[in-house]
Amino acid sequence: MILVVAKTLFILIVVTLLFAPLITWVERKQSAIMQDRIGANRADLAGMTFLGLLHPAADVIKLLSKEDLVPAGANRFLHALAPILSAVPALIAFAVIPYGATYRFGDTTFTLVAADIDWGVLYLLVIGSLATYGSVLAGWASRSNWSMLGAIRATAQMISYEVTMGLSIVGIFMVFGSLKLTDMAVAQDTTFRVFGFLDLFASLPAGAGWLNAIRLPNWGIFLQPLAFLLFLTCIMAENKRPPFDLPEADSELVAGYFTEYSGMRFGLFYMAEFIEVVVIAGAVAALFLGGWAVPYLSQETITAGVASLFGEGFANLVCMLIHVGCFFSKVVFLVWLQMLIRWSFPRFRYDQLMDLCWKVILPLSLLNIFLTAAGMLLAQQIAPGAAAS
């Protein structure tokens, strides 16, 4: 019980108190670099700006001290509820994402994930579908045209991309044969032979045996490259950040569904968005980048290696630290990737957005499912039990 609480608190604190504010800073710096500006550097403590790292703190103080306005004629209850409904799913989504493997310390065994449920991926989809309510209600309860338009766009966009998001990762379920994220991470802690498919035609000639030595980590991104692209697109569209920010398109709709929010309620929407960036990074890392897995160094290898020198308990601890570090470096990389995308592409037009979803991603994800099924059948022909794509 204590372990569960500790794990939950750890991930909550890391994500909300560490990552989310940090990302606002990364975003500012990233945009500054890409636009050839200097970027956040004004907030200072006794003259020291710390590279602009004080801005997140200043933001929080500003948001907390601002007046909390509720527009006249708004539905007060729903207006107050909406930011909470927006933030809570983002916060609880991280519960199923494993940030470390299973470790043994003496008699206790534990897995570094807050809730190790069997249908982890479905849980993520469920949370994603519930996240829609925050924006819908915000837009509707504000009784403002901007908000309403933003909410209508948000609804249509989120429902559409939810469908394709679910379909795009079906290939991953098929390859790993599980919906459990911890299982997936364990499965990705291995490698596979890149040229294994050659076995289909003939066993390799002796001289070409080196081909067998070429191995890649058994990661989702290598097994399902198409799914990776599609899933990343969909989940970014779910988060409604640029270039998919039609619901809050500032040049047309002021701030979309949360136009009529101020103070900490506005802050909650803002925070939800940034937490979602981390959640996206975590989910993509867990599904496609091996989660906590270190490429070419499986858990047994690390543990055995360290244990031979310093004993088993210490080996597990080291292994745990390496895994957690590895996971969060992947998260940081993916966050940076999202920032890069966010500042590189112009906003879609609405019809382009919908066309992308229904006419490009949907057929491609169906194709991906089909190809994966065909590939798995083929792999079974070659060597029963071996995974290949």
């Binding site: 729903l78 479905l122 469920v126 519930l130």
Partner: protein, 172 residues
């Protein structure tokens, strides 16, 4: 009372309360939709308690995530400023609804308990390994019930075609 039972009653109360709220006493149609969501989610909780995890997930995904959002979407599209329920529809109907609902419920329960309606098979206490999990249910779906899955596909196609032809703004 075990924790499981406590959760069941809590969910049951929430489900019934918000269902009554939906048809009885909310002032605005969006509030009615939100009550429906609460009912759906509580039912999903009950499904989890009854070892039907997949159903629970799908319940939230489809009902809360798609169906009610669709309702909200249409409500927003129609832009019902006056609350949509109409002022006259409330007080009198509430009395009527509570009256009819109460009578029918009590009647049902009395008849049921007298006639022993609920005397069904006893519960199986030792469920097979992994009962209700996605894997077992998925295998059942695509082996024994494959035909039903295909038929559902046709139903969905029919509804898409029907809904598009009815709701499309310009058709010729």
């Amino acid at each position: 009372m075990s924790f499981e039972m406590f959760l069941f009653y809590a969910f049951a109360f929430l489900a019934v309360f918000s269902a009554v709220a939906m048809i009885g006493f909310v002032r605005h149609i969006v509030a009615a939709a939100m009550s429906l969501v609460v009912t759906m989610v509580s039912l999903a909780g009950i499904y989890v308690l009854m070892h039907a995890e997949l159903i629970a997930a799908i319940q939230i995904l489809v009902y809360a995530g798609a169906i009610v959002v669709l309702f909200l979407f249409v409500i927003m599209l129609l832009d019902l400023r006056d609350g949509g329920l109409g002022p006259a529809a409330r007080g009198q109907n509430l009395v009527k609804a509570v009256g009819v609902g109460g009578t029918v419920t009590i009647g049902t329960l009395v008849v049921a308990s007298v006639s022993g309606v609920f005397s069904v098979n006893p519960l199986v206490e030792s469920l097979p390994e992994g009962f209700g999990e996605h894997r077992a249910l998925g295998i059942a779906l695509f082996t024994d019930y494959a035909l039903a899955v295909e038929l559902v596909g046709l139903v969905l196609l029919a509804s898409i075609v029907g809904a598009v032809i009815l709701a499309k703004r310009k058709i010729d």
